[in-house]
């Protein structure tokens, strides 16, 4: 890991009417690090992800991104064009529902190839080879390359979404409940896959989840949120094995054992 954080947020505030979605939130992510944002529904974790990725502007505070060239980009002041360029080159998004991140009417190969073509790939054979390679990496049979994702199972759709996101080798990936809505065995395989890919590619990942098991498996560091405030943060094992804040203690003790 290098010394400079890849993403740095400070003093974030966001209100929806009387509800404080974010209240004085600060966060830093270093390259190659997986940070999980943990919390119950309505705790502001998805709002935080949206603000960090530039989708929603905060009422106050600043988000700085350090790009591949080392320049600091103020995410909310950079303008839409710069943000879109970042979103299709250096960033990736994995949505909870693969339907939000995929084009269901376009073949699996086309879905993976879209990001390559968006950054200027114009060699059909090269795009296909890259797509086949990535389908193989996410354990989808490359023979199904020309099939439509709407005919895929939920787990396959999610893996396809991951292939599509990672094909351009982003530096920072935002994941919103990537395993939500999948059954446990499929979830386990997907987590395994994400963990291997993240380690392989040295990605920085910001992961939103309410599932403590997912956080423990993937994340290096944890940020626990409640009612828009960060109530606890630290190394994953430290936070989960020795929770300091009463809310974290409640979360950890609420996990169902099989």
């Amino acid at each position: 890991m290098s010394d400079d954080p890849i993403l740095e947020a400070s003093g974030l505030h966001l209100r929806f009417g009387a509800v404080a979605a974010l209240d004085e939130v600060a966060l830093r992510v270093w390259p190659g690090e997986v940070v999980a944002i943990l919390g119950e529904s309505g705790s502001g974790k998805t709002s935080l992800l949206r603000v960090l990725s530039g989708t929603v502007a905060p009422d106050a505070g600043e988000v700085l991104y350090r790009d591949a060239a080392g320049a600091l980009v103020p995410v909310h002041a950079a303008g839409e064009a710069a943000l879109r360029r970042l979103a299709r080159t250096e960033w990736g998004f994995v949505h909870q529902n693969p339907r939000d991140g995929l084009r269901l009417g376009v073949s699996a190969g086309g879905n993976v190839g879209e990001r390559l073509m968006a950054v200027g790939a114009r060699h059909y054979g090269g795009i296909r080879a890259a797509a086949a390679e990535w389908l193989r990496r996410v354990e989808i049979d490359p023979a199904r390359m020309d099939d439509l994702p709407r005919d895929f199972s939920g787990g396959m759709q999610q893996r396809l979404q991951i292939a599509r996101t990672l094909v351009t080798r982003p530096r920072l990936v935002f994941m919103d409940e990537p395993t939500g809505g999948l059954d446990v065995s499929v979830q386990a395989r997907l987590l395994d896959l994400i963990r291997a890919l993240v380690a392989d590619l040295g990605l920085a990942v910001l992961l939103v989840t309410h599932d403590i098991a997912v956080a423990r498996l993937l994340a290096h560091r944890l940020v626990v949120m409640r009612r828009g405030r960060v109530v606890e943060h630290g190394l994953t094992d430290r936070v989960l094995d020795d929770p300091q804040h009463e809310y974290t203690q409640l979360l950890v003790s609420s996990v169902l054992a099989a």
Partner: protein
């Protein structure tokens, strides 16, 4: 451009109408849109499209652009699918002969303004000529992105991955790009543009054309343009280069193997002939022989 309204006495045009049918304020508005369109090649400029005495889809956009740029000294040629003698071409040509009193011709080389539907003439155009296209749908992304506001955003950001996905899908499914007309082009390396429904065969003629190319879409209220000598590149892949399609035959009248051909069914037993779609070019070649 004369602002004087000629009456029946001066120039023999229709009494009660301004020169070239449109009033001068409307022409001014359209010319402003045209200037902006020429300044930003391939960019769609909105304009206040008027009711014209012909239905939408028959060339209301093209006819308004022609009316705004034509002057008393111009010579007008109108083609429809390459032919000078089809209903649409004849009626628009007659319209301008009556309301503007301009000379008309069927010869590409003699015309200064050419209004066209679905073709670019085979005879190469030269500097000083204006080619006016009738455009039914100016938005190249409209079958791919249904939201108009979003297509404008994509144009503004130069985000054209969507169109390449379409080409990729065509090749993946059928082995080649399946667009035979209205083939999308990149203008001046910046804007994706619909070339109006000309055959893909004609696309290479647009590239660095010495003549000015103006596009008018009446129903959609958009004007765009390609100035002379501007790069117009058909989208493709490096290993699947753009290939203009053409029927593999010779014209039954002039014998040309280079022109774009129409297939004409001649009987109920599968008989067919191929003819040049550009009647002026074909006629000249036949006369030479």
């Amino acid at each position: 451009m004369s602002a004087a309204a000629p009456d029946a006495a001066a120039g023999g045009t229709l009494a009660g109408y301004n020169f070239a049918y449109l009033d001068e304020d409307t022409k001014r508005m359209i010319r402003r849109a045209l200037l902006k369109a020429v300044a930003v090649p391939g960019h769609q400029v909105p304009f206040g499209s008027r009711e014209m005495p012909l239905p939408y889809g028959w060339g209301t956009g093209g006819i308004q652009v022609t009316a705004s740029v034509i002057g008393p000294d111009d010579t007008l040629k109108v083609i429809d699918q390459g032919a000078d003698d089809t209903t649409n071409a004849v009626s628009i040509r007659r319209f301008f002969a009556r309301v503007a009193g301009v000379a008309t011709t069927e010869r590409t080389a003699e015309a200064t303004v050419i209004q066209t539907r679905h073709r670019i003439p085979e005879t190469p155009l030269r500097e000083g000529q204006i080619l006016v296209y009738q455009v039914p749908m100016p938005e190249p992304l409209f079958r791919l992105e249904p939201r108009v506001a979003e297509t404008r955003r994509l144009h503004a950001l130069g985000d054209y991955g969507l169109m390449h996905v379409k080409l990729y899908e065509d090749i993946a499914r059928r082995g080649e790009v399946e667009i035979s007309y209205n083939y999308p082009v990149m203008v001046n390396g910046r804007y994706l543009m619909s070339p109006s429904p000309i055959p893909a065969f004609d696309n290479p003629k647009m590239d660095r054309m010495p003549a000015l190319q103006l596009f008018g879409a009446g129903r959609e209220k958009r004007i765009y343009a390609v100035p002379p000598y501007t790069s117009v590149r058909s989208l493709d892949f490096e290993d699947h280069p753009f290939r203009p399609a053409r029927a593999d035959a010779a014209c039954a009248l002039c014998g040309s193997r280079e022109t774009y051909l129409d297939e004409v069914v001649t009987d109920d037993h599968g008989g067919r002939r191929f003819l040049c779609s550009d009647t002026d070019y074909c006629g000249e070649r036949t006369a030479e022989r």
